[in-house]
Every structure is written in C-alpha cells, then in structure tokens.
C-alpha cells in the first residue's frame, strides 16, 4: 500500500466488471439566466461587440462539431454532422444577431430564436419533433461558447476513458464513441435505468448513484469496480493488480462454453439480451444458447419514424440469420413510459408507467403491432428460422389470447407473452393456456409489485428483485409453467445475478436471459449446484423476511468455492 488514504466513492454497481482509466466528464447544461450580461475581459459588452462574440460562438461550435464528426464513426458521425449544420444555419444565426443588435441580452436572444424553430419542429411532429433535442443541444453549446463556459454534453474522447455524468440521456449515449469508453459512472440514475442496461449490453463496467463523482476533475485516474460498487480515486498498484486478477478470473469462467445445466445435468438455457441485429452478431461469437430478449424498440428509436415492414423484416432476418439453429425470442414494440416514441406514445399521460404502453398500444395503434408481426413472419419465411415472439405488458388472459390470435394469423409459430404485471403472474395458468411460453420481466415486475418507479434510484432497495413478494410471483408463474409443461424464462436483470439465478432455477424457471457479459458467472454458479440444492436455496429465500435476509441465507448456502470465486 502506498501512503495516504485512498478516496473511495460508493455507488450501485451494474454487472461485475472493473476498469481503470482517466475521467471524462459529461458537462451539464449551462445554467445561465436569459438576461445574464455578456462579459468580455471584465467588461459588459452589448450591441455590435456582443454580435461579434455571438457570431464567433456559432462559428466555433459549428467547426468543433464538424471536426468531431469527421473523427467519429457510425451513428455518432451522422448525429454530429447534422448538429454541426444546424449550428451553421444562416437563418438561426442572422435572427439571433438581429435581436442582439437590437439590444436583447445574448442568452435571451438565442433562446427566443431556438424556441421559434423548436415550436415549428414540434408542430410538424414525427421525425422533426425528435430533432428538437439536436436543436437544444446547439442552443446549449452556443450559449456556453458565448458565455465562456465549458462545452456541454458528451466530451470528445481522445483516449479510452471512464465517462462520468450526472445522468446520461439516451441522446447522450448515442453521441458516445463507445470504442473509447472504459466504464460509465453516474451520480444519479438507477440500476435498471437505460444507461445501466446499455452498459450491460456492451459489457461495460457501470456504477450508478455514485455521490460526488461529478466533482472529480477531467483526467483523474480512477478504478471502477462494479462488483464492489466502488470508485477509487488514484488507485494504487495493489488495487490495479487485484482488479487485473479478477478480470483474469472472469476470463477463466468464460472458457466454459458448454450448454447451461446444474451439477446433476438439469438443463437451464442461458441466453443473451440484445437490442439490434449487430448485437446478435456479437452474441453469435459467445457461448450463449441464443437470445432470450430482442428489444425491438431500439430499432424504432434509431429510425425515428415507424420503420417500414420491409425495413423491419430485414433487421429481424439479420438477427435470425446471425444465430442459425439458436433460439431467438423477439419482444414486440415496448414503447411508452421511459421509452417514448414520437409516433407511438400518447402525449400528456399523467402516469405513463400505468398508461398506454407495451402491448396496450394495440388499443390506439393496432397497425404498429400488425406491421411488426407481418415483418417477423416475413423474416421467419426468408430465413427458415422461427423466432419466438412475445408481447410486453400483458395484464390479462384476454390480452394474451388477442396477441396470440394476431401473431398466429400472420403465421408466427411460437407465441408468448411477458409476465411483468402482478395480475399476469397471479393468473399465469390462464395466460399460459393461451400461449406457448412466458418470460418474466423482473425489472418491471418489481416496479409494479412494489409500486416503485424504476427510474427513482433512491428507491432502489424497494425495487430489489430479492424482495420476497417479487419472488412469490416468480414462483407462482414457474409453478403454472411446470403444471402445463410450458417454458418459463426470466429476462430481467435478476437473471444476471449468479446468486439469484440459482433461486430462479430452484423456483422452476427454465431459461435465463441477461446481458452477455454476465453469462460466464451465471453458467459457473449453476454448474456447481444440483437442482435439489437450487430448490432448497429457493425455499430458504421464499421463507426469508426481507430482501436482504433472502440474499444472505442463499449466499450462506452457496458452494464455498463458488462464493469465493464470485466474491460474495
């Protein structure tokens, strides 16, 4: 150990990985009042001098974005190029300069003109409404440049870095050059929020709710340890060596590529969660037995208007073709709540998590569902691979029947539904009678069982999938599946916890789907316990009085070698 006490920040880890690297902060939006004076070299400037500053700010922002775009790749390149051209727009610039010339304060002038365009875009709807985000990003950058503040948003990464943010919006992650991201650490956010899920899919170490992390200066070297929930500032050699050893142990776990099974040979399918056909290609290179959750809304979010049936069919066929002979479970569009789509979501819902989301969209926009099912059926025909197709947010057996009827009418061979609403878990037998399989979405099941918003990080203890009430509902669903001889999977993040995975197996869950980075540890834990032992652990968890007690009793009952290897 070196001298001094290391500064250690605590947070909630997502996954188990670790990384060491320099901090790159995502700068917050400048908080500047509209009438803030423009100060240059200690003097307040107005009129022509202010016009010069603003004109230079527009030019600098546009040039910086264009430069970043040239150095970037993929979707980031296009996003940045479009934003650069907006910053260079002559109507935007001339209107702002005219207002500044007429004596209006700089920030108010920029805000006023940007709002005019934002209103026009919003009224046009669809694709344009979603470009409002880019417009506001231009606004934030120009205001910051004019007022001499650091450029807001995702920084350009010149070396592999630990990205640190108050919170990351989906638009921020779209602007990240992922090849240079070592880890993501946020001050806010929750372990099942979308930053965490994206980080999990990419196998990036991620910590959320790390108080004080945004106070670190850019370039500060930090060690990020998701398994331990720790961020260590200026880590010493011993810690770095320790994290390296753990990474080596994780790689050793990856060397087991046989199908998932308990110690006594009871098969447990181990599957990966994906969002795109490109993810499917990545999964094909791993030991995953297939895909347990293909989140199709990612395709919709990227294209910004409803993709055509042909476009969808091509994307689904790409994913199926990447995994020949392997199971692929496709979830139909799950828009709404925390995943709004301009063309599909209801505006102004008071309580979107309880509103028209998931399969409920069929009530307002049945065409979306029909188009997607047609595209999936086309992909099934063109690849000769039958996807398993399931609908999200099913609450009743009637909804399950309606979905199954529509899907089968298109020729879909294997039809299922998600169990995420407590009513569906309680009536699992009636629902399973209508479909071929179910999959438990434990993140939403916990949210609805515990009446706790998934996005409220400070309530993470209530959202804990170890909550006995949530486990009761998993048990009820698995029991119904066993009685009817139909598969019951879990595709929430709880499947990615190797300790909880044993409980799920003991409860009768037949497949586990998770971010692919979590598969080796889960495969290892399942392989080292018999089905009987898993059942005993599950019974002990169900008998516990609290989430913490449930986890403690199961950890105590683990095979000692597994406990040591997982560091629990």
């Amino acid at each position: 150990m070196t001298t001094g006490v290391a500064v250690v920040l605590h947070g909630v880890g997502v996954g188990r990985r670790a990384a060491v690297g320099p901090v790159a902060r995502v700068q917050p939006v400048p908080a500047v009042p509209g009438d803030a004076p423009l100060v240059v070299d200690g003097e307040v400037v107005t009129g022509e001098a202010a016009q010069e500053v603003v004109a230079r700010a527009f030019a600098d922002v546009s040039a910086a974005l264009a430069g970043q775009s040239q150095r970037a790749t993929g979707t980031v390149k296009d996003v940045l190029a479009a934003t650069a051209q907006m910053a260079d727009d002559r109507a935007l610039r001339s209107q702002v300069l005219a207002r500044v010339g007429a004596g209006e304060p700089v920030v108010a002038a920029i805000d006023g003109v940007v709002e005019t365009f934002a209103t026009m875009f919003t009224q046009a709807g669809g694709y344009l409404a979603e470009r409002v985000t880019d417009l506001r990003s231009v606004r934030d950058r120009v205001v910051a440049a004019a007022m001499g503040l650091p450029a807001p948003g995702v920084p350009e990464l010149t070396e592999p870095s630990v990205v640190v943010a108050t919170d990351l919006a989906p638009a921020d992650t779209a602007a990240l050059d992922l090849d240079r991201v070592l880890a993501i650490v946020t001050e806010l956010g929750g372990p099942t929020g979308h930053t965490a899920i994206i980080a999990g899919q990419l196998g990036l170490p991620c910590l959320v709710r790390v108080h004080g992390v945004t106070d670190l200066a850019d370039g500060t070297r930090v060690a990020v340890d998701a398994a331990g929930g720790l961020v260590t500032v200026d880590p010493d050699d011993a810690l770095v060596a320790d994290l390296d050893r753990r990474a080596a142990a994780e790689r050793a776990l990856e060397s087991d590529t046989k199908a998932g099974a308990t110690a006594d040979g009871h098969a447990v399918q181990l599957l990966a969660n994906i969002g795109t056909a490109a993810d499917a290609v990545r999964v094909a290179a791993t030991a995953a037995e297939g895909v347990g959750l293909f989140r199709t809304e990612v395709l919709f979010l990227e294209s910004t208007t409803e993709p055509t049936v042909a476009e969808q069919a091509a994307a689904y066929a790409d994913a199926l073709a990447a995994l020949p002979g392997r199971k692929v479970v496709v979830r139909t569009l799950d828009a709404g709540a925390d995943k709004p789509l301009a063309f599909a979501t209801q505006p102004d819902e008071e309580n979107p998590a309880l509103g028209v989301r998931g399969y409920r969209l069929v009530r307002t926009n049945a065409d979306l569902v029909e188009h997607q099912l047609e595209a999936l059926a086309q992909a099934q025909r063109s690849t000769g691979q039958a996807p398993w197709v399931m609908a999200p947010m099913i609450a009743t057996a009637d909804e399950a029947r309606d979905f199954a009827r529509r899907a089968r009418a298109h020729g879909i061979e294997r039809v299922g539904v998600m169990v995420e609403v407590p009513s569906a878990a309680l009536r699992a037998a009636e629902i399973l009678a209508e479909v071929d399989f179910v999959s438990l979405g434990t993140n939403d099941l916990a949210q609805y069982t515990m009446a706790t918003d998934r996005l409220r990080g400070e309530l993470a203890d209530l959202l804990d999938p170890w909550q006995p009430a949530v486990l009761d509902l998993v048990a009820a669903t698995a029991r119904a599946g066993a009685e009817l001889g139909k598969p019951v999977g879990v595709c929430g993040e709880s499947a990615a916890d190797p300790v909880l995975a044993l409980v799920l197996v003991g409860l009768g869950v037949t497949s586990l789907s998770m971010s692919s980075g979590a598969l080796p540890a889960v495969r290892f834990a399942v392989r080292r316990h018999t089905l009987e032992r898993c059942r005993e652990l599950a019974a002990a968890a169900l008998a516990a009085a609290s989430a913490q007690a449930a986890r403690d009793v199961v950890v105590d009952g683990l095979d000692p070698e597994v406990r040591a290897a997982l560091g629990v």
Partner: protein, 92 residues
Amino acid sequence: MSQRTVAVASRVGLHARPAMIFTQAVEASGVPVTIARPGGEPVDAGSILFVMSLGVPSGEEVTLAADGPEADRVLDELVTLLATDLDAPEGS
C-alpha cells in the same frame, strides 16, 4: 422573379441528408432563393432549419423562387437536385 415547381424525389422527403445537400447547394450558389410548399409561405432555402421545418414528404411539390441575372441558371440546377433521390448511398 423566376419560379420553378418540382416534386421532391428523395424517398425520405426533404429531411436529413437530402435537406443538408439541398441547403448547401443553395448557399454555394450565392443567390438568395426561397422555397415554399403549395399555398405556403416562402422561406429561406439556404436555411436547413427552415427547409426541414417545411416537412416536405417524398413526391410532394415545392416552389423555388429567386431574382437576378443568375436566377434561372441556379433554379434549374436546384430543380435537377430535388428531382434526384438524394438519400441514395454515396457512389451508387
């Protein structure tokens, strides 16, 4: 005042990449050009924000207008551009 009316050929309409290419061409011409949807207010055709906010779908007609000795030549070039599918991948 010279005017031309042309249907937008790009499959995505006058959005995104096609809007970018079109406004860059207008700026490069150095001639002030306006663009309008049928019966709509003409706006600056060199502004990507104005052009995008028109929200012109594929196949719909727009009217371009300009003044001066260069107007006819510039408008003819811009009409050719709009009558092309600008969303096709480069080099194809």
